[in-house]
Subunit: 399 residues, 2 copies
């Protein structure tokens, strides 16, 4: 029997997926499982996008342009203008989700053995993309005490080697919800220029900011046109994860020409998703007002409830729809499994994501979990009831 | 300014794309360009699939399962049964086109520096996928005189090194249209077993066979369950290239578990495309009867017309919708560019694909072109009128 690849063997498994059998087990015992483990919003996809799909009238569903349908890219110019980002259709390659856009960016800028610096905790799938591209992630730890703010720039400086090709940020951050400030990004800019690095910024949660804070994009930084690569997606903005439509954007012509070769090799992004995403740009403003209000209320429930729990701590992030909370537990992997396998409160339990999977440094995040607040306030309160009792009942409780 | 990657610099450009500016130039001069250069069929996508899209009624367009929507995979079991292939839903991972399925297969089986043997000429994008995965393509030349039949197995045997991990076939073949026989595949099977290799078979043109010939799949080979990986797509079958739905299939559990990690890292294939592809399985048989009749007529036009041209030769392939023809020309790259840049006949010209781009061996295919017969018979005849005169008028004519 022929052997699989070393790369395939090294590919990490999702920190959440391994809990799925335990969640299925809980459900089979009649326990209601509240899913706080995933970034799949429950919000309706905008009607204007669904309408475009129902009205699809082409007779042949053909390949689109490898960089994406031109009318979609042209319309995206207007969307980005509305968030103070100036780009042209030629500076965009539509990807099959941000996932593909990230792979295009990494492969265009980095070779086997090159290093990318990413503040941790970070979106766990970055590990998969890095393994896939054969590159090494160098984590810089951010701390829950500071609310997961940008780590000291000296930590970045110390981590730079002759293999370092890029710094990657996710802003607002998954899993922490942290919203980087303009000032923080300007500090990163100076470092990036000093060492002539790429700055890859995953901004798929751009719209999700709270308490009056506004998102500032790396594309708005002065003097960084040749260095910045923006990663974006419609998945979260329009609750349209299934469209599989993202985009890679850069003013750097050589980077875009290189990424285009990867894009051409896979022919084109999905046609239906692009049609729906193009229509979604006309989503009325009220949609976002309502959605943001809803998410803010959800965040407040989670943050307030956790901070009242004995021995627990949760920062109050300004963006995305995640928090990373510290709990009085010995091991978040064991705790999350225990919640599904051995625990219920009033016949309900919660599925959380162990934060360990979002850290690259071994042993970090053992007393932290990521909570996605993608459920309505009632379900969130019920989930917090479970959690409040669970951390008292958990055999591995530490305080 | 930071540098792009060596891998990105090495990524090949499509042999067709570089001609696009010349085609645009011809059009801007008012010359009608017949596109025989691409595999985008003009056939209508089945109504049953379009209906499913128009009736899409989910309120949230969510991520699907990373391996693809279960109901789709279950229905695919029935489709494959109808073509004498026995598989289970667990043995399939739905990909974003065959493109992604190929990448999953290569990455799961092969590491940087490993070798894959592919008969040439072969689908040019295989080069891109190989560069992307860091692996080396070892070509075995097939010849136009034999109609591009399987090269002598001794040629494969001689090419096998300790780096060889797989043999890849495309059946029916793009670009040659050649349909491998059961006997040829059994010869390959014995070699694959002897050297414990993977056999990756791209069968996206399965339905397109002519003159009473039937397709035989590597999945029907006895004793090769751990070695074979089937690559498939709905793009050509249902004229649905824009769905971006393909599939990777294998009985080898370790291969599938490994590919699943790559699939999970990118979350899921496109939801709309899967819904349409699932419905497309119910396409009535008459659709294919009509389509095949149409393609057979087209092939006959192309083959008959070219073989009547002085100094030209075209085999009569039994599958797909391509032929590779030999023309009395010095250099197919120059000829194809000349057709667009400098030539017209009655204010019409043709865009062809230089066959050189489908060979890995430098200098091969210089007097060959690939012709996709994806136009109606009238346009094909007009195209053959152009070609007939062009090869007489071409300054680089060789006979």
């Amino acid at each position: 029997m022929p052997k699989i690849s070393k790369k395939g063997a090294a590919m990490p498994e999702s920190p959440i997926r391994k809990l799925v059998p335990f969640a299925d087990g809980a459900k089979s015992k009649g326990v209601k499982v509240h899913h706080l483990n995933i970034g799949q919003p429950d919000i309706k996809t905008p009607e204007v996008a669904m309408e475009a799909i129902r009205n699809f009238s082409e007779k042949v569903v053909a390949y689109s342009h490898s960089a994406g349908i031109l009318s979609y890219r042209e319309k995206l110019v207007g969307y980005y203008k509305s968030v103070n980002i100036d780009v042209t259709p030629d500076e965009m390659i539509v990807g099959t989700g941000a996932s593909e856009a990230i792979l295009f960016a990494l492969q265009s800028c980095m070779d086997e053995g090159d290093e990318i610096i990413i503040p941790e905790p970070f979106y766990a799938n970055y590990n998969g993309f890095a393994t896939n591209a054969g590159i090494n992630v160098v984590p810089i730890s951010s701390s829950i005490e500071s609310g997961f703010a940008l780590p000291p720039i000296a930590d970045f400086e110390n981590a730079i080697t002759d293999k370092t090709k890029a710094i990657m940020l996710c802003n607002p951050n998954n899993p922490t919800g942290y919203l980087y400030s303009r000032e923080e990004l300007e500090i990163v800019r100076d470092l990036v220029k000093k060492h002539d690095l790429f700055l890859i910024s995953d901004e798929v949660y751009r719209e999700f900011t709270y308490d009056g804070y506004e998102h500032f994009s790396v594309m708005q930084l002065d003097g960084l046109d040749e260095h910045t690569i923006l990663i974006d997606s419609v998945s979260k903005r329009y609750s349209a994860c299934g469209f599989r439509i993202g985009v890679m954007i850069s003013h750097n012509k050589e980077v875009m020409a290189t990424a285009m070769k990867f894009a051409q090799a896979r022919l084109s992004p999905p046609t239906f998703g692009q049609v729906a995403a193009e229509a979604a740009i006309d989503t009325p403003k009220e949609y976002f007002v309502e959605v943001l209000e809803e998410y803010k209320n959800r965040r407040d429930v989670v943050v307030n409830r956790i901070n009242k729990m004995d021995g627990a701590f949760c920062p109050n992030p300004k963006g995305a729809f995640y928090v990373v909370a510290r709990l009085p537990i010995d091991d978040s992997d064991k705790f999350c499994q225990w919640l599904l396998e051995d625990y219920n409160y009033n016949n309900e339990t919660v599925m959380l994501a162990p934060a360990s999977g979002f850290y690259s440094t071994l042993g970090f995040g053992k007393d932290e979990v990521r909570i996605s607040y993608v459920l309505n306030v009632n379900d969130l309160n019920a989930s917090m009831d479970v959690l409040e009792h669970a951390i008292k009942d958990y055999p591995g409780r530490t305080s």
